[in-house]
Structures are given as structure tokens and as C-alpha cells.
């Protein structure tokens, strides 16, 4: 039986998941493979001695070129992650005639264009479904299943760590620090959680999704990013009063031939399909000009869930290999749309501030908003000790730059002691 031979770069959770899945569902794949068979022939690891379940030691190597330059290998699966070696290995593998599957969001969000173009140049397929939202087939859904639409909005919970933290903060009223520590103990958060809680991980993923949805290459550096470190239990409690939750969202919007792309913690009404996506689940909400809206909810990480995406890509490449006619359509970013500065975007905003508890304070603040063309949607005022009050204001949809100038003006009011937080709010959807 003809074999399609696979080299695996990396053998962590995802790599082991891929090995396991190919074994688990072997009998299901046979009738799909038109008389061929999938076989992992080499696996790159750092340490030959580490325990790796039932993976035969004979498959392991510490030399990447035994895979990249291996003439019998058809497909290279890169699950090392990060940007240290992955790019070099992938580009070298493409030049050496390998089709590529990668789960590497860091790489695709920064060097994606070059990798896809090199794939085009050498007639090799590059697939990366696993790089965003784990088991949720969001790339293929946008690229293939919804291809009849102009996608106008992509909004996703695409970082499991922060979603776990925010879910716990809401359910248990605990502080971010306390929940973060638990997430680290459970292995849901890294020892250095910066990339997750500062929103960078989500930013990489929304850059990839925006590129695919709008046919315009969007890089990590194009994404406006705020993390969740500023969210306090007070914000959680006020969000509840507004019948809302707070989620870290990656948002990409196409409006009037310009793109907006950002990551920030956002108040979301409990009726929104993303509002009840909890714990380490990921979800993506899409809007398009024919389907209306569509939401996908699934597991964003883990060995088998991520392997689900990798192996679906692999079966699709196997089909292409078996047909003998290689159709390469890796890069679909043929448009050159403007990416808006954050100042020029609009949203609803949530302000929480501590003020002096006197008459006319609210009117002074309302005037400051009005001076900057910011209209107010709703207000909660709460007495604090020592002659202070807490004021929470939701605005209508206004320009970000008007919100910023209102914020500055309010900060300078003598009756305002401190602006505790300013968050975004998705009211209409």
C-alpha cells in the first residue's frame, strides 16, 4: 500500500495528540485515503529520553534535517510553536518539497504572508487550522463554508486562559490575582502569563482571522491590544448590574472599506451568544452579508482537540496528493484595505470613577462628556465612605477619540478623584 509519509516537528501535547489520533481513527481514515496510508516516520524532539507514552523511540530524532531534508517525507507538521526555529524549518521544508501543517499562531501572525507565499512559489500546500481556536474549524469555515459571503465582523473568545480567569472572577467574585494563581496551579496558565493576560495571544489569533475574513494581510503589529489586568471585582459586580459579563474579545470589523482590529476586555450582554461561553472554551461569532450571524463554540486547546484540526488538514492534503493535481491557494490576501487607528473606531464605553459626593458632580461630568460629543446611555451611582461616591457610566456608541478626550477632561475635574477603569462594551450586535 502506498504511504503518505509524515514528519512531526515537536512532540509536546499537540504532537502526541496527533500521533494518538492517527492511531485511534486509523480505520475511519482508510476509506478516505483511496488506497494510501498515513504514517509518521520521524519525530523531532529535544530530549530522546523523555517519557512519551507508546511512541516508539526509533521514530525520535534530535536532528531537524532528518525530517526537513528527508526525501521520503511528503508532509511536515510543525507543532514546536514560538518563533525561534519554526520559521526556518518550515521554509526549508517547503523548499525541500514538503507540504506544511502548522499550529503556530505566533508565526502565522507575524510571518504568515511569507510562509504562504513560499508555499505558493514552490507549489506546496500550507495549512494552519490549528493555529486559531484549537478544535473549532474557524479558518475553514470562513475560507470555504462561508465563502459566498462578505464577512463583516469576527468577534471571538480565543484565549482559554483569560476566559477561565474571567469565568471564575464572575462565578466566585474572586480577584484576578487569586484566580490566576489557581489557573497556574491547574496548568491552564503559564508561569509567565504575560502573553495571555496582556491579550497578545488573542491578538495573534484575531490577526490571522482578520486576514482570512477580509482578504487583507493583518499582522500582530496592526492589532490594538488591551489585556485583562485592569479588571477588578468591582467591574465584575457592575457588569452584573448591567446584565452583562466581561470577556476578553478579539474583534475585527470591515466597515466602509476599512478594517478595525483589536483585542480588549468587553462588557457583553448576557443574551449574546458569546456571553455564556465559559472556562477554557473558545468561541467565534461571525457576521456576514448573507448568513447573518453564526457562532461556533468548542475546545480551544488540548492535545486531541488541537490534533483534530491538524489531522483534518492532513486528510485534506492527503486527498490533494492522491489526486496528483496540486492546487495551491494558500494566500488569499489580495486586497489592500486601510486599517483604522483605534482613535477612529467607535464603541460603547464603560467608565468607573470615584468622585466627591456633592451636588452638581454628575452634571459636571455629564457636561464633560457632552463637550466631547459623548452621549450617555445609563448611570449607576453608589455611595462610598468618607464623602465619596462611585459613578459608573455606560456611553452610547461614540468615537474612540471623543471618548479619550472626554476621559482627559473628566480626569482634570476637581470633583473626580480617580477614574478606576474604562472598558469597552458591545451593546448592539
Amino acid at each position: 500500500m502506498k504511504k503518505i509519509k509524515i514528519g512531526l516537528l515537536g512532540c509536546g501535547t499537540v504532537g502526541q495528540g496527533v500521533y494518538e489520533l492517527l492511531k485511534l481513527n486509523k480505520n475511519k481514515y482508510l476509506p478516505l485515503l483511496e488506497g494510501t496510508e498515513l504514517e509518521i516516520v520521524k519525530i523531532l524532539v529535544n530530549d530522546l529520553k523523555k517519557e512519551r507514552g507508546d511512541i516508539p523511540v526509533g521514530l525520535l530524532t534530535t536532528n531537524p534535517y532528518e525530517i526537513i531534508h528527508n526525501e521520503e517525507i511528503d508532509v511536515v507538521i510543525e507543532v514546536i510553536g514560538g518563533t525561534t526555529n519554526a520559521e526556518e524549518y518550515i521554509l526549508d521544508a517547503i523548499k525541500n518539497g514538503k507540504h506544511i501543517i502548522t499550529a503556530n499562531k505566533d508565526l502565522m501572525a507575524t510571518k504568515g504572508q511569507n510562509i504562504l507565499e513560499q508555499g505558493n512559489k514552490y507549489g506546496k500546500v500550507v495549512r494552519y487550522e490549528a493555529s486559531v481556536a484549537g478544535a473549532i474549524p474557524i479558518i475553514s469555515t470562513i475560507k470555504e463554508d462561508l465563502v459566498s459571503n462578505q464577512i463583516t465582523k469576527v468577534m471571538g473568545i480565543i484565549n482559554g486562559t483569560t476566559n477561565f480567569i474571567l469565568t471564575k472572577m464572575f462565578a466566585e467574585g474572586r480577584s484576578l490575582d487569586s484566580v490566576l494563581k489557581e489557573a497556574q496551579d491547574l496548568g491552564y496558565a503559564e508561569a509567565d502569563p504575560t502573553s495571555d493576560i496582556e491579550g497578545l495571544d488573542a491578538a495573534r489569533k484575531i490577526a490571522i482571522l482578520a486576514s482570512i475574513a477580509f482578504n487583507r494581510r493583518v499582522k500582530l503589529s496592526d492589532v490594538y491590544v488591551e489585556g485583562i489586568t485592569k479588571i477588578s471585582v468591582d467591574d465584575v459586580n457592575y457588569a452584573k448590574q448591567f446584565k452583562s459579563t466581561i470577556k476578553l474579545l478579539g474583534i475585527a470589523i470591515l466597515k466602509e472599506n476599512a478594517i478595525e482590529v483589536r483585542v480588549y476586555p468587553t462588557l457583553l450582554p448576557l443574551t449574546h451568544p458569546l456571553a455564556n461561553v465559559d472556562d477554557v472554551y473558545n468561541a467565534v461569532y461571525l457576521e456576514g452579508n448573507a448568513f447573518g450571524d453564526l457562532t461556533l463554540i468548542g475546545k480551544g486547546a488540548g492535545g486531541l482537540p488541537t490534533a483534530s484540526a491538524v489531522v483534518s488538514d492532513l486528510l485534506s492534503i492527503a486527498k490533494i496528493i492522491n489526486k496528483g493535481s496540486i492546487e495551491v491557494e494558500n494566500c488569499s490576501c489580495y486586497l489592500d484595505l486601510e486599517i483604522k487607528k483605534i482613535e477612529d473606531t467607535s464603541s460603547h464605553y464603560y467608565f468607573r470613577m470615584v468622585v466627591v459626593d456633592k451636588t452638581r458632580v454628575l452634571s459636571k461630568i455629564a457636561d464633560a462628556f457632552a463637550d466631547n460629543f459623548v452621549s450617555i446611555d445609563s448611570v449607576i451611582q453608589k455611595k462610598l465612605p468618607d464623602g465619596k461616591a462611585e459613578l459608573v457610566i455606560l456611553t452610547d456608541r461614540v468615537l474612540n477619540k471623543n471618548m479619550q478626550s472626554a476621559r482627559e477632561q473628566i480626569e482634570n475635574l476637581d470633583v473626580v478623584l480617580e477614574i478606576k477603569s474604562v472598558l469597552n462594551s458591545e451593546k448592539e450586535y
Copy 2:
């Protein structure tokens, strides 16, 4: 510019949606079509005189053979619906060299196998994404995006009419009859609503999904069906007490190499991803052996949402035509798995009954359950006037035949005045 020519059989809501969408997104499709262009050249209608927006009257015909036997047509889109003429037209079109796109669930759930086999025989592609769940790309998600998995469960809200009715019954505490009338007035329910409220429409769709998910042809006649007509406001109120909702679900399960496939109203805990899918939205919840679970929520009907699925299929066929190498993989039902009788399936069950309000009544009923190996999960008892009481019992997961025999034994107890309803309940998921 080379044209891919399309004949449209039918010009109702969906047909007009297809025409409109091809115009709306023409510029988006051009770069995908490799120098070809999509053109609707003929549309079959019943009445040439009816108002159809900006569709040129010159495109219309009342003679199906101007499309089916038209040599210049490459793709036939069937959006007539029903089983009167659609099968004959489609089979004739395949023999005459046309690729087929159909939105016809009635046809695919009864004659699907033959149509797909004829497509295979004549080397023509048959696509039917629009036949289930409107804009939700559920067929492609199962067939392509999750192909790496063995799907083990498909559970869907796949009938918008009944979901609208149940949503209103829950939100407003109104009776089925009253909400049904409103749905008819709004155009959400047919004048003869039998197919929707008796669960037949959902049964057709779950038959199609089960066939695709389990690679085993499942027909409408294989599906066990109960509709929503027996649901009363009392059931709605008890469901709320169990922190649950009631949804009409199509359920297909693969367990120990056998298939279970059924449609029935089901108590669903409010924490389930399908529980908050309201109004005319559709949703499908999937389980697989790698991805875990995945939920898709979107619009189940309407002109443009359904056209979204039809035109995505069309673009995919256009790509195949442009490549010149026709790959036909229409029918994937190569397995011969047993389909279980409903008696041999298991579920949690909800019993509501009116009993004589005396001591030992509960123990007699509990004994009757126990005699039939049905264990009880929870009980609500409520006093009624005239020495009666209402008893609501949720069972653990038990065999359907044991539930049935318990039901018979309980019905014959002299202390039981009436079993008001027995519903299914999805407790674990």
C-alpha cells in the same frame, strides 16, 4: 470571459435569495473564479407574471426542460422543495450532464442515496448544504472540517418554527395553540403546521445529518419521531423548576457500533449550549472522539441565509469545473450499522402525573418504577384541589423499554388518575 452557466429550478424565497446574493457579492467572487464568471441563464417558475423584484422576465420559463436539457447549463440549483417533481428533474439533469445543488431536505431524507449514487455514476457533483439548518454549514463541517474525528453524537435544534413556539411558551407562559396562531400570522408557521410541530421536518434533517456523521444511510423512516403538541404550560413551568428548558431536538448517537436516531421534545439544562438558542435560530451540537464537543448556532431559514449555503456550494463546484478534474465523492455511506429500535435506547425521562393525594401514593409509584429497573433522580409534588396532587418525576438514565413498562404499570395503579406527559431529558452531555 468564460461563463459557468446556472439554471435555477424554483424562484421562491431561496431562489430569489440566490439571484440576489450572486449580484451582491459578484466582486468578491471574481478573484475566486480564476477568470470565469457565474451567470444564471434560466429560472423555472410556475407563474411568469408574479412580481420578482429585479429578476429580468426574460430569464423565466415554465418549462423545466429548458433548464434540464439545456446544453449550455453547467449547474442546476433545485429550490422547488417537496417531492412532487424535484427528484425527476434532478435525476434527469444529472443524466444530462449537470452538477446539482439542492436545498431539498424532503428529497434528500427519502431519496438521497439514489440521487448521490446517480451523481457518482455520471461523474456529477451533488451538494445539499442548504437542506439542513439553513446558513449553518453543518454538512461541510462534519464531512470536511471534522473528518479527522469519529463523530459520536449529533444533537440539533433544526426546526425554526417549533423553536419559535417553545421560546414564546417559555418567555410568556402561553399555550402552544396561542403561540402557534401568532407564528402563523408572522409567516413562521405554515397554514398546515403538521410537518413542523409533529417533528417530521426535524426528522428529515436529522436523517441527513446522521447519514453524514456515521457513514450509514439513515432514512426518514428510520427516525423515531415525537412532536411538540403534547407540551403544556405546566411542563414549561416544571422545566423551569428543574433549571431546564424544553427544546425539540433531533438526536443521533453512535454507540457500540449501533445508531440511535430520534426527534423528540427534550428537557435540557439551561447550562447546555443549545438551551439558550431561541426564536427561529437553529443550532447543532456535535460530539467527536478528538474535538470533544462543538456547537454551531445560526439562522435556519430565510432567503439570503439559505442562499449563503447554496452559493458556497456553487463556488466550490465552480472551482471543480475550473480545475477540469471532476472529483465526485457524493455518497459516503459505506457502513452497514444497525439502527436501534427506540425501546433499546436509553435516556433520562420526565413524568408528570395527577394522583390521589393520600399517604403511600409516592411509595406505590416508586415501587412501580423500581419493579421495572427505573431509578428516580428527583421528585416535585404539588397539591391540587379536590384531594389530588401533581407529581413530577425525573428518572436516571434508563432503557426506554423499562420506562415504557414502568409507565404501563403506573397507569394501572388505582391511585394514579392520569399520566399527563412523559418527556425525554438530556441530563449529562
